[in-house]
Amino acid sequence: MRQRKFQMIEFFLKIVTIAALIVGLWVIPALAETMYVKSAKTKMTAEPSARSKSLGYLSAGQAVKVIAKEGRFIKVSVGGKKGYIFKFKLTSKAPSGGGGGGGLDLLSGNQKMAAAESSSGSSIRGLSPISENYARGHGISAADISAVKKMESLSFSSSQIDAFQEQGGIGPYAK
């Protein structure tokens, strides 16, 4: 009687194990979560600190594999390298053009880019020709056209933005 009871329990456990195994195998590949870099020139560091050694910069839309979450940083793997990225520079939403990208861009800290470029992957361009035409047809003064062009052309280096954030203890430097 006791032997039969054991056999039944054993059979039940086998069924449950097989079912759990099937569910597990289906879900396990998703454990390696993928995230995407939000904007251009996103710094990856060796440690979960913005002051640690820079490993390079990532392009907007670059896919990274999440290894672990540590405070305001996420440990990631990209292009065979492991490092840390400020967590609000990553998103779980894939870019509309598809993820991927070229891995780490090893840039010098002082490389110039537009103010816009410093936080985006978009190219630097002046006022749209359509907006220029609009200005001509609507009595917009040369001073106002120049003002829009000026705001579009304001430029910073990545190190200037980094220094501004470090001085204020904000962004990746926030405690």
Binding site: T17, S119, S120, S128, S131, N133, A147, V148, K150, G169
Partner: protein
């Protein structure tokens, strides 16, 4: 007995793995699955100079609905409802990036024209841009360029136009007391751009009814289309105001963006008290937005949800140092 132990161990290991997988966000997976096809980012190749690609408008008696109505299978009221639903399905495609930039740039010109022109102070403009870029960099739409300028106007105002053009008036900067407040204000404006509030409003408006898609070639070849869009958006942004729920949404994300950067999340909320004391007639910010009191209430409730947020810096000394002698 031995077999039983092996089975138990296998079950334990498997359950452990399944439990670990609970961290997966099934909501995100579902969202990705249900996501519409990717929008176009760049403008398409120039098309022949022609009017807009008009949406196929349902016409009386046409298509399956017409057949059903003709055979008496459905009555007029039902066919009307079905046609309405069809129109929604056939509504305009979201405005693309190049078109957004052209519209936003034209609106930016109108902002300078109507609100005092440029406040000329390079040092101050660079400071505002640095704060703004820091906030925009953690926003939900960090992959587009953002541009920042100061308006030469004593009235406290702030504007955002599509394409990432953000404006604050010198009058508003005089009321701001610290960088956390400024970050919250800029965050609110960045949220309008990130969430495409003005674009969504115009996409649903009568101005663009009949268009299935807006392209740069249409804007280029028919200036009347751009004129109408800019005119309607100017009325919305500078006179009527956006839907009040969109303003509350911009507050919500504006506060969150400032928090993500590491500022004291209460900056935008605290500025509402200051704004509430100013004269309404002088500010579009007051005449087109929900009352500072209503905004304060919602922001205050939100601020309580951030852990240790009140301990984060407001950077009043840096704000004062950067603005002193420049306003």
């Amino acid at each position: 007995m031995k077999k039983l132990l092996i089975a138990l161990m296998a079950l334990g290991i498997t359950l452990g793995l399944v439990t670990a997988s609970w961290s997966i966000n099934f909501g995100d997976i579902l969202n990705e699955t249900l996501k519409p096809p990717p929008q176009k980012k760049a403008a398409p190749a120039p098309k022949p100079k022609a009017k807009a690609a008009p949406a196929a408008k349902p016409k009386g008696g046409g298509g399956l609905i017409g057949i059903l109505e003709g055979t008496g299978a459905i009555d007029k009221k039902t066919s009307g409802i079905l046609r309405g639903a069809t129109a929604v399905v056939q509504s305009m495609q979201p405005i693309g990036w190049e078109e957004e930039r052209a519209i936003g740039g034209s609106l930016a010109l109108e902002v300078f024209k109507n609100f005092g022109g440029q406040y000329k102070n390079d040092k101050l403009q660079r400071y505002i841009a640095l704060v703004g870029l820091t906030v925009a960099g953690v926003s939900d739409r960090a992959d587009i360029p953002y541009h920042f300028a100061i308006l030469n106007s004593s009235a406290p105002n702030a504007f955002a136009t599509p394409g990432g053009y953000i404006f604050v008036s010198s009058g508003l900067l005089k009321l701001v007391r610290n960088e956390a407040e400024l970050a919250g204000i800029l965050g609110h404006e960045i949220a309008h751009v990130a969430k495409r509030h003005a674009l969504k409003t115009i996409e649903r408006s009568k101005t663009l009814s009949g268009f299935s898609q807006l392209t740069t070639s249409i804007l280029d070849s028919d200036p009347g289309v751009l004129n109408n869009i800019v005119k309607e958006m100017s009325t919305t942004l500078f006179t009527k105001g956006l839907d009040q729920n969109l303003e509350f949404e911009a507050d919500k994300f504006g506060m969150d963006y400032a928090y993500r950067v590491g500022y004291n999340a209460g900056g935008l909320r605290d500025f509402m008290k200051v704004l509430g004391k100013t004269q309404k007639s002088r500010s579009v910010l007051l005449s087109t937005h929900p009352t500072p009191r209503a905004r304060y209430g919602k922001l205050n409730a939100q601020a309580k949800r951030y852990r240790s947020a009140s301990l984060a810096p407001v950077l009043s000394q840096r704000y004062l140092a950067e603005t002193k002698g420049n306003l």
